[in-house]
């Protein structure tokens, strides 16, 4: 039974099509109505126990390619990874053989406590070493490559010395991990910190980008004069983010793309509409690619 020696297979790779983030309220509907989503992504931490949730996931994995997206490994923790959590993730990965496994460039554990958010890292040489060490440990443990996602952030640290896009590229180069490029997060962070979103995209190593995330955000008013952009995954993708996504596709080519929606989750039909929009842009990028190759 022990699979230490054997590399873990992946059941189905994730197609370069538009998928949908799957939440509990749609489990039953997915099994009964078989909606036309190209693939689904689920949050790893929602399926680490027993009972009905993992049973649904097993059934859904029989019909669709599934990707696992984690929020709890805390790749940026200086105190190292929680071995018990990593072991539970490994069990789930072994069981469902997901097409992709991803996590975040952030930390969520400090002093032994889980802080229930994807917290920003100071982007320093020390943090780079620690993130690379933790990513390598996860990849060794899971015996597969993972993707690391750029977070949305609301603050930066004074002692950061490396721009986020460079930091992410360095993590990918040093560990061999892929990049999950969250286009909405780039937009949100760019708004909050005065970055140029297009320049961020242009700085990412094309060959490492293996998935794209899209989601809605809100511009929150602090007072008359000031606003902050909040990544709340509670609405449709904004037009500016669709435009940035088209730029990303032009640069990276067709990439598996996910519609994320986590608060006030709408009917599946709305998610499929959003996925349809992404699919149309992927088709355009594909034909542009074809023309470029033919020319």
């Amino acid at each position: 039974m022990d699979s230490h020696a054997a590399p873990l297979r992946t059941r189905d790779s994730i197609p370069a099509r538009a998928g949908v983030g799957l939440r509990f309220r749609h489990h039953q509907e997915v099994l009964e109505a078989r909606p036309a989503a190209a693939w689904f992504e689920v949050h790893t931490e929602n399926y680490l126990g027993g009972g009905s949730a993992p049973a649904y996931l097993d059934a859904i994995c029989r019909d669709y390619p599934v990707s696992l997206h984690g929020t709890g490994l805390s790749l940026g923790s200086a105190e190292g990874l929680d071995p018990a959590h990593l072991a539970r993730v490994r069990e789930l990965v072994k069981r469902i053989e997901p097409g992709l496994v991803s996590e975040h460039l952030s930390f969520s554990v400090a002093g032994g406590n889980y802080l229930a958010d994807l917290l920003p890292l100071p982007l320093t040489e020390e943090a780079l070493k620690i993130v690379c060490r933790n990513v390598a440990q996860v990849q060794d443990h899971l015996k597969r490559r993972i993707l690391v996602e750029n977070p949305s952030t609301y603050l930066q640290f004074r002692h950061s010395t490396i721009p986020e896009w460079e930091f992410l590229a360095l993590v990918a180069r040093r560990t061999g991990c892929g990049i999950l490029c969250d286009v909405n997060n780039i937009y949100v962070s760019a708004c909050n910190h005065g970055w140029r979103a297009s320049a961020y995209l242009a700085a990412l190593p094309t060959e490492a980008v293996a998935e794209i995330h899209l989601a809605g955000h809100t511009v929150r008013r602090i007072d008359e004069a000031r606003t902050i952009c909040v990544d709340d995954h509670g609405s449709r993708v904004e037009p500016e983010v669709w435009a940035l996504y088209a730029e990303a596709l032009a640069r990276f080519g067709p990439v598996p793309t996910l519609i994320e929606w986590d608060t006030n989750v709408p009917p599946m039909a709305v998610l499929l509409e959003e996925a349809g929009h992404a699919a149309a842009l992927i088709d355009e990028a594909e034909s542009a690619n074809g023309h470029a190759l033919a020319a």
């Binding site: 931490e45 027993g50 002093g111 603050l155 602090i222 909040v230």
Partner: protein, 262 residues
């Protein structure tokens, strides 16, 4: 004033203090301010931390939430989060200390039955999310020598809990979730104690009452009392029927042989 550059570990512990204990002293000097100040930026993360955990506890303790109301619940939870922040990234596992916290939470002291309702809700939460496990194959017991069989103690299924409550928490819990005010007002909160079994069935989670003797017998078996001794203790009722029911229902997942036999 020059501020020394913190190590990553120091910075992360300072951000932890900011989120959990609302203490920004170690972190704000390291945050880039500008139009939006460090405190306002930290507030965004603090709000997420509190609201994610409040939602997690509301989902695990829906009857407590309804009994005390949203405002009171939130106030209690804010205090609880500060003293017992999560230790795991699986939020389904978060909040097992909440019933004990409520026992000592002075503003809730007039609701003596509240901690019992909370304990019951935690057992339901555990039944929903506990790991899956294969039931014990009764043939393994049959294969034992007679003397060995007397030394058997059982491991309860991880989704099952045995609870003894001073208050009729099961009746209160059900009436609250059914929003059945007529039934709720007819319950005598002092009509206890009650002996309960919570478990996950293929159809969902079930909470049912047991007789005191069946409950004591079952608890003893799962706490290391050898089978022969437990049967001996339970002479006033037919414990073998209870045992057969547990085995048939798959409530035990394993057994071991107690070294000190009856």
């Amino acid at each position: 004033m020059q501020t020394a550059t913190p190590s990553l570990l120091e910075l992360q512990c300072a951000l932890r203090a900011s989120l959990v204990a609302h203490d920004d002293r170690g972190i704000s000097a390291h945050v880039v301010g500008g139009e939006i100040g460090a405190g306002e930026r930290l507030d965004i993360y603090r709000n997420t931390f509190a609201s994610v955990l409040t939602t997690a506890l509301r989902l695990s303790y829906p009857a407590v939430h309804r009994l005390v109301g949203a405002e009171f619940f939130e106030r209690a939870v804010r205090v609880f989060i500060e003293t017992s922040p999560p230790r795991s990234a699986c939020l389904d596992d978060y909040g097992h200390e909440f019933p004990d916290f409520l026992s000592g939470f002075e503003p809730a002291s007039s609701l003596a039955y509240l901690p019992d309702v909370a304990r019951l809700e935690w057992s339901v939460n555990r039944a929903l999310h506990a790991r899956d496990a294969e039931p014990l194959d009764a043939q393994r017991l049959v294969a034992l020598e007679e003397a060995e069989r007397g030394r058997v103690t059982f491991a309860l299924h991880p989704s099952a809990s045995l609870l003894r409550m001073d208050h009729p928490a099961d009746l209160i819990w059900r009436a609250v979730l059914d929003e059945d005010d007529a039934t709720l007002s007819a319950i005598d909160p002092c009509a206890g104690p009650v002996w309960l079994l919570t478990e996950r069935l293929p159809t969902g989670v079930e909470v049912r009452r047991m007789s005191e003797s069946a409950w004591r017998f079952t608890s003893a078996l799962c706490e290391g009392r050898p089978l022969a001794a437990a049967l001996d203790d339970a002479r006033d009722f037919d414990a073998s029927v209870v045992l057969a029911d547990h085995l048939a229902a798959g409530r035990f997942i394993d057994f071991s042989l107690n070294e000190t036999s009856a």
